[in-house]
Symmetry: C2
Subunit: 371 residues, 2 copies
């Protein structure tokens, strides 16, 4: 049986429960009340985890822990990216150290981009938006794989780990996880392993719990990385606590499929004007409503497949009572598709205006994050 | 046809001329008079080259150039290693910058050694002997792959080059050169590429000729590295002058085969006492003499296969007139095997006594080479 997961062709994952069962990912429900309140956990955008108990304990006991995430700089920063940024900021507000890795080696090797362009996109699109969304420089280590910040000792410790990790795997193991492997891919994967494990090196703060929030397509990589961590620990070369992970759903694209950088009508960028965003929602957002008002009033809409509803549910309507009312009214047919979209458009416009003002200020703060 | 060269099983290379012809290596003869006098060139221990004209010109015109060599720390430093050390020192005395790379990532990945042990062997065996043989700290960059010396900018520039090189090759190209490839092997090879090319990065002195003295078994790697250099240059990511190489013969082991770390009677270590060295030569050195004195006087000996003669020829008898007399006398039968060995033993003893005194002093100078 092929144990690889690559379900993001165009359909998305339909059956999260099966993935939880087949891949040893535990449901998040048991954790929701153990950590400070958090919309994405509460509403199941984050639906599963591995060893998250260690992180919940660290938060509760005010102990040192790390959240690490990576970004592959490409295209516009959109509301899908925002959902991950909100997780970073949640951990930072709850005393976690935040490591943000710009996977420029991976992007260079796998997407044939230039390091210079990648660097510009990472800073101008991603970092600036993170800052506007609330990321603070204190306790944040924003770095590029190709130029690890800090002194030479730190840079070398990071790269040495990437090099040593290659002894802890085989071509067969990598093929089982990644399919056909090339030298560029192997180099990229070894950097990813170093990214996830290096916050536990003494040069970067030492042994401590690390959580990596990922989409479920990254589950094999987390398993691979946990395996390498345990092989190092067994050989006494390093002591690593196996990294924890949380698994999140992806926000659907406007048209119901994936958000795609190459199709601006599949997403709302955080730099879209409220007018453009409104038009995208009104004209393009996939609806769970019926073909006519009459039919909608009679049969009701389906919020589960309605993209405007999903966007409200996963962040734009924070009030649980209000979102339930929207859900029920749409389901019953009381709320029409146009009305539902209008609710999102108002929330979205308000957010975009405010966010774009913050972006102006954020540009001046970028330097605080770059060593 | 299999274009790989791996002729070091137990036989050694018998036909250097064929290798020169098949692998585009040019004979060194044309270069001997273009550079300051040098026993190893003059006597053909260094027998071939690629693009060495650039180095000869740099020496003549007093322009900046680099000699880079790598070492895989293992076992005792012996008279085979001495021959390469003499090349380093020759270039340093002729105004070349000397980069010495301790291939600890490669040794870790391919030989399963610990980085700590590798480091100790590299310093205590190799570096200390280099110093005793005449290596100076000025203009010498002695470094470990796993911890590139200098600041973070330098460390990153080196590792970034290793990572980027992986995009410039394919699994097929690597298999053609290295046979079966593993993640550890790929990582090692990418570090080797960075070793050879990084002296031309702006962080390390910028574009300039680099010569790598290697055994002929390394010829495919030089070709691979020159290919990657030209692909980078074509893409305008880096400007590299294709690295030059010289090719040297290996000094035969005492028994006529290879010098092997696992068999102390196959080599003379530079830490062997004169007594031990003398016994090794007298009892174990493979002889080109005849079975009896009578037969030897009649038929003469064969210096070409006589290990004691080879050792005199490739360094222990520097005087061309004297070595010719030894050769002719041995060939004619005038000089007996025991007498020939005695000449080497005397030269060797004198060298070892003097060298071991220098080693004592050299230990105190190690720090000057370690950033």
């Amino acid at each position: 049986m092929d144990r690889r997961i690559d379900p993001w062709g165009s359909e998305g994952v339909k059956d999260y429960d099966r993935l939880v069962k087949d891949f040893g990912i535990e449901p998040i429900q048991g954790m929701v009340k153990k950590v400070p309140d958090n919309l994405l956990f509460r509403r199941g955008a984050v639906f599963g985890h591995q060893d998250f108990g260690r992180i919940a304990d660290s938060i509760k006991q005010k102990k040192d822990y790390v959240m690490l995430t990576g970004l592959m700089p490409s295209g516009k920063f959109h509301i899908g990216h925002k959902m991950l940024a909100e997780q970073m900021i949640y951990y930072q507000q709850n005393r976690g150290k935040v490591f943000i890795c710009v996977a420029d080696v991976e992007a260079y090797n796998m997407r044939k981009a230039s390091l210079k362009d990648l660097r510009a996109t990472a800073i101008e699109e991603y970092l600036t938006n993170y800052i506007a969304l609330g990321l603070k420089p204190k306790g944040c280590d924003f770095y590029f794989q190709s130029s690890r910040s800090g002194d030479a000792g730190k840079a070398n410790a990071y790269h040495r780990l990437a090099a040593m990790a290659s002894r802890k795997t085989t071509t067969n193991e990598m093929k089982a996880i990644y399919g056909e492997v090339t030298p560029g891919k192997i180099m990229s994967v070894m950097h990813q392993v170093a990214d996830i494990l290096h916050p536990q090196l003494k040069e970067f703060g030492g042994e401590r719990p690390v959580v990596v929030p990922v989409g479920v397509d990254q589950s094999p990589h987390i398993r691979f990385c946990r395996g390498i961590a345990s092989r190092f620990t067994k050989s006494s070369e390093y002591d690593f606590i196996p990294p924890s992970a949380t698994y999140h759903k992806f926000m659907k694209g406007l048209k119901g499929g994936k958000m795609s950088s190459s199709d601006p009508y599949s997403f709302i960028a955080l730099t879209d004007s409220p007018k453009v965003a409104g038009e995208k929602i009104m004209k393009h957002a996939f609806s769970g409503g019926q073909g006519s008002v009459k039919e909608h009033r009679k049969k009701g809409g389906n919020p589960d497949i309605d993209v405007a509803y999903q966007m409200l549910y996963f962040g734009f309507e924070e009030n649980d009572r209000k979102i339930k009312k929207i859900h029920d009214d749409y389901r019953s047919g009381k709320l029409l598709t146009g009305e539902l979209k209008q609710i999102l458009i108002e929330k979205m416009s308000k957010f975009l205006v405010s966010h774009q003002q913050k972006m102006e200020k954020a540009r001046g703060k970028v330097g605080d994050f770059l060593g």
